[in-house]
Symmetry: C2
Subunit: 135 residues, 2 copies
């Protein structure tokens, strides 16, 4: 889907606890740093839909498993991606796409490394049932 | 301790899963973005000692509880900080200080938002017993 990138990330094994890469400034699809925040999502709960008009999201899932659904309203096209330790990639979502996500495990955590700071005027929220999708 | 800052961070309650802030570009002690990575640390395991000569670390603990010990070799001074959901702060460590950390819970995770990219020449590692500290 245009506006969406998946970048495989390194996982470095260590007997005391692994190291998982997230993002480097020199990565080819680095769009700048504005803000970093975590979002927990409970098993079977869904957060969304949300659309950013300026913010590029970089989503990484170090704990649990999260299903992301991205919707391009211009092409009426959906993309479904599940991220976890076993499919450890960075999901980059450019502005203009709708996004929602669901927790799969007991504990699920995402990190968003956003290229600009969050502000209420650039993000739109609509109820889950406003975009038809068979979860 | 000189070269160490603790910044309280916002935790936003949400019944589907909380949102925890990590860092914003506009934060007063923002030193730039170079790289982000996660480090897991098992219960009772200790990683360290490590000293960075150029990298400023911004450490955040979204999962579990981690004890950080920082050592200023010039002043022979130690600082001990435990971070967790209940003491949710960003620990900023400027270059030139030794650091080691221990896991407390079954699952412990830190995020480091570093101001430069990791490179082997700017970091020094020594064995845990090389700096005497009663863990």
């Amino acid at each position: 889907m245009d506006g969406v990138n998946l970048t495989p990330l390194k996982q470095i094994h260590n007997p005391k606890g692994d190291v998982f890469h997230a993002m480097k400034k020199s990565d080819t699809n680095f769009y700048g740093f504005g803000e970093a925040y975590f979002s927990f999502i409970n098993k079977d709960d869904i957060k969304g839909w949300k659309k950013h008009t300026k913010m590029t999201l970089n989503l990484i899932v170090p704990v649990g498993k999260i299903e992301f659904v991205i919707y391009d309203e211009n092409k009426n096209d959906f993309l479904n991606v599940k991220l976890s330790k076993n499919n450890y990639q960075r999901l980059t979502i450019l502005p203009g796409l709708w996004m929602a996500f669901r927790g799969y495990n007991r504990h699920n955590l995402l990190l968003n490394l956003a290229n600009i700071e969050h502000n209420l005027t650039e993000a739109m929220n609509i109820d889950l049932n406003k975009i038809e999708y068979k979860w």
